[in-house]
Symmetry: D2
Subunit: 334 residues, 4 copies
């Protein structure tokens, strides 16, 4: 961390500021330029509040020069994290497709979708039981019953299942769930993250639609700091001014996160784009830029889906997508 000192500051004020830093356990290193004096901070600055330092009287600005995340940081853990879910590996060159309906609706629906996506190459099954909806008047999911239906589909197909948690008090219901998803709206629900850090299950952490990649990594850090290092990051579109698509899929997240962190990175094109006919091109793009996996919405009857039918693929469309994903992976030998 570097603090740039205002030009009028006296030597005494600068001394005072240095003592203030020393009292917080960091060493200082001063550098006087013609126009500007700079204090460099050396040591563990992760707990120092940048905004606060910036508010100090003689400080003009503060720049953090090291990353505030540690456990998620590739610098300290150069090797890719590989997460094994029921024998299916994600990360470190291992690629998986998670597919299934937005919401679990009935035993027939979830089983039918599960079987068809499995046949087309999906290895994990997704399905929403607890559904975060903008309106209290929209369908809120089958909740506990939805999880039961997922577990039945798992029993039949042997596919590991992924479903979203909205409240830590529901954790007992997730005992047999293979990957617990944290939705975009809960990415900074720090109380929930802390509790998920205390279980050992893989967590699929979705980027909030207005969160930076650094904030995503800090939220992963919340989970990891409690002891659970099995975090899968997921980009699912960010909010911009563009209105033709629901959100703007930020695929640059893939190479950037690949560099910053050792955690696997997967892409959810369905929620990002919100229109089923744009899902396939964005899925292929995600594979081409190096994603470790995809999460895709598939519904046996999108036009009668309880939610998000607009973005769901039919089983046939998914089959077509999956075939082209394979072609790209084959071509790039990834």
């Amino acid at each position: 961390m570097i603090a740039v000192i205002k030009s009028g500051a006296t030597a005494q004020q600068i001394d005072g500021l240095q003592s203030w830093f020393h009292a917080r356990g960091v060493k200082t290193h001063i550098s006087e330029g013609d126009y500007q004096t700079i204090i460099g901070l050396v040591g563990d600055v992760s707990a120092i509040d940048t905004d606060l330092v910036e508010g100090l009287e003689i400080v003009e600005s503060v720049k953090r020069i090291s990353d505030p995340f540690k456990r998620a940081n590739r610098k300290f853990h150069p090797k890719d994290t590989v997460i094994d879910v029921g024998g299916f590996k994600i990360g470190g060159g291992n690629f998986q497709i998670i597919a299934g309906p937005c919401s679990v609706e009935s035993p027939e629906q979830i089983l039918s979708v599960a079987k068809s996506v499995q046949k087309s190459g999906a290895s994990l099954l997704r399905g929403g039981a607890f559904k975060p909806r903008t309106s209290p008047y929209n369908f809120q999911g089958l909740r506990a019953e939805g999880i039961d239906l997922l577990l039945e589909a798992k029993k039949v197909t042997q596919m590991p299942i992924v479903t979203e948690i909205m409240n830590a008090v529901h954790l007992p219901l997730f005992e047999e769930v293979d990957i617990i998803q944290v939705g975009a709206r809960n990415m900074q629900n720090f109380e929930l993250l802390k509790e998920l850090g205390q279980c050992k299950k893989p967590i699929l952490l979705k980027r909030g639609f207005a969160n930076t990649l650094q904030e995503l990594l800090m939220s992963a850090e919340y989970i990891m700091a409690e002891g659970n290092e099995n975090v899968i990051l997921c980009e699912r579109g960010i909010r911009t001014f563009e209105t033709y698509t629901r959100n703007t899929l930020d695929l640059s997240a893939v190479p950037v996160l690949r560099e910053l962190t050792h955690l696997p990175v997967i892409i959810d094109p369905s929620h990002a784009i919100g229109v089923s006919r744009y899902v396939k091109p964005m899925a292929l793009a995600a594979v081409a830029c190096g994603a470790d996996g995809l999460i895709i919405e598939v519904h046996n009857d999108p036009r009668n889906a309880s939610c998000d039918g607009a973005q769901s693929l039919t089983p046939d469309e998914f089959d077509d997508l999956s075939a082209d994903v394979d072609k790209i992976r084959e071509a790039l030998k990834v």
Copy 2:
């Protein structure tokens, strides 16, 4: 709601679509133009999923023409909601200043700040006990102890207190709290909103930093749909590309919300701007455009604050701000 039909659709397909709508309990009204056929939906369309309709084969686009929020909607409740907190009224022409430190740190600190802001014109006391922080390594608040200290300050000063909840399981700790705050990051933590809807306390609902005003009203609707109509809306800055300020304070929220809803609207310039020397001008602007109140961070010793010192006013600065607020309200006779 209006569905615009694709130009190639057959009469039979259009009939089929109309039946689909009728099955969902809404009446339809067809309008054929030279270039475009439109189906208008009449009746209660609040539970119809716009995205789903847009996904139907013959539908080109869908436009919602009525607001999806009901209880918060001024059309159905033209009269301003006035919320009375220990004798202090907010809304309907009643204006209050809520002031206090970002975090409660010690009995001396909170009492000292409380007394000074009260002397300068604040009627309610704020202070963070549970603190949402981007980093797990930053100070997380005194938690239960922080609430105890607020209650002590309340006993001495008689100021009603406002503090943030992050987890519904902490609700028992909030029994003596006068206004429960939902922070920006939890604005769409729907599970939390539902539980707050079941208590009767006033809820101070902060707009998420990337949420639209309509989403803010939908979150208020979550609370109100459960039976708690005492919601105070708070604009606290939105995320934009500008970097000189922490967020961009969207003051147009004041006149827009005034028109859309009967709920009181207050402004938090401290978090929006993030720099103490910009707080006063933005606070005055908020008053001039008609806000029902302000929430301002004040710290007895900003430079040693546990968090957000950069944006905290000193008691003297707050006194100056408060005096100018009075002048503007006097001048505009609001």
Copy 3:
């Protein structure tokens, strides 16, 4: 276009509004719901100002239901536009890579880069002569001399050249240029667009960093309305809150524009991302989602480039990128 009428409006007011529309040459079609009356406008509404209608006393809101662009609209021109530049075709299944340095710097530099990118598969040569720079104190390009150097490189390599225009008075200098580029900052410089509409050369129109896809198409429409239908659209990143990348590359522009317009769509990953090591993954993603071409910055000595060295590939890196582009196109048989 649809105008939703406020609930209190009288029959007389509604009649008056209908007459107002008729006076502007459009027919009206009224639809009365239980809660809402709607006037549908039929005929050529492209010149009616949505904002103005919205401002009328009895109008609650206005929705445009047809696209405001005509010549660029795929609905009226279903067949892909193919642009032939010196024998190299772009669009309609034809793919080209445009490569070269950000700025033309010297005869040796531009010729050396041209030869190496040509060998690696680029068919067109780019190079900045007139450079838009945020700071007046940064290098502004070699200007007329830069164009001369591009023309010399063209003579040697036979590669058609692409370079940016910043001022219509420079048009005479562009006589031998094959594609004239309009930069992102000039996308809504309507005076420039009109003048380019009067020449017949292909125009490479870059999306402004904060412009919607509809605005991009409206700017293409400015050129086309003057008679020049040879417009190539280029996505080059939009401005968001994310800071790890210079801009956020919006690849969903590819499938969306493919649907909305018949014009070719190419991608500039270099400017979008701003970091050379992220250029290749984003270029491959662009190809996978169906772009008609790429424009890539390549410099023989990035570390001494006059501008944008940070995002320029070396010739070797470009060669590697180009080979993988071929693999993906081969795999997808596009």
Copy 4:
């Protein structure tokens, strides 16, 4: 400027980098921490390209610690610039209201509006002759004839006039214009800025709807670097995800620019908000936070305006606004 060096860099590489900087005329100052080596650059770094340095092999990141603008910078010119337009002063405590129609439409219209806004307290007259419109099919302004009509209104009322330029070749038409406006879409039309820098007239420079305040100041710098220091900055709303308002008025621009620059800052609430009934509250907010002036759209017959009728005030509404502006200025003694 500070360059943070990657941890693996050798002493030789660091020496090489220092020489590279020295060759560009800046001195270096090295600071070695436990984890990080930093090179501080001393001297005139305004021409060094941050992105390029960031692209160098051993550089991890680069931070600019001084402002890239000089002539517009308050640090070097602490005294407020006051611009005198026909006896009306703007800046340094002097406040003016500029009012008038979006477009000049007819002699009667412009004169009628001019007289009424003058009576209500406006000192300068605005009116669009050259109109930047998103669609080529919308009204483009009366152009040269519009300027003639403005000049006639000036003759009758003695009000100085403000109108927008879109193309430097039109400059001869602006000889009698008092303030030349650069619209938001041309804020980074650097060719136009340079030419305006060579005339001596005051320039009203509007912030682009997706430009940072620093970019606004850099554009002012383009004008000032050519010798014209008479620049008035204008905030007119930025593009965000919110859709209830046309743009989001960023009033924090007022205190931030006040600190960064000596140039006057005025606010255009009409274009920012786009809805006439929200203009007054935002205008009052602008005054309360310290703006040096307002620019307000007023039309004698908004419902038949050629453009932007939705946001235009009637003369009576403007009179009401102006009276409340006075009250706030009186109350705050600004």
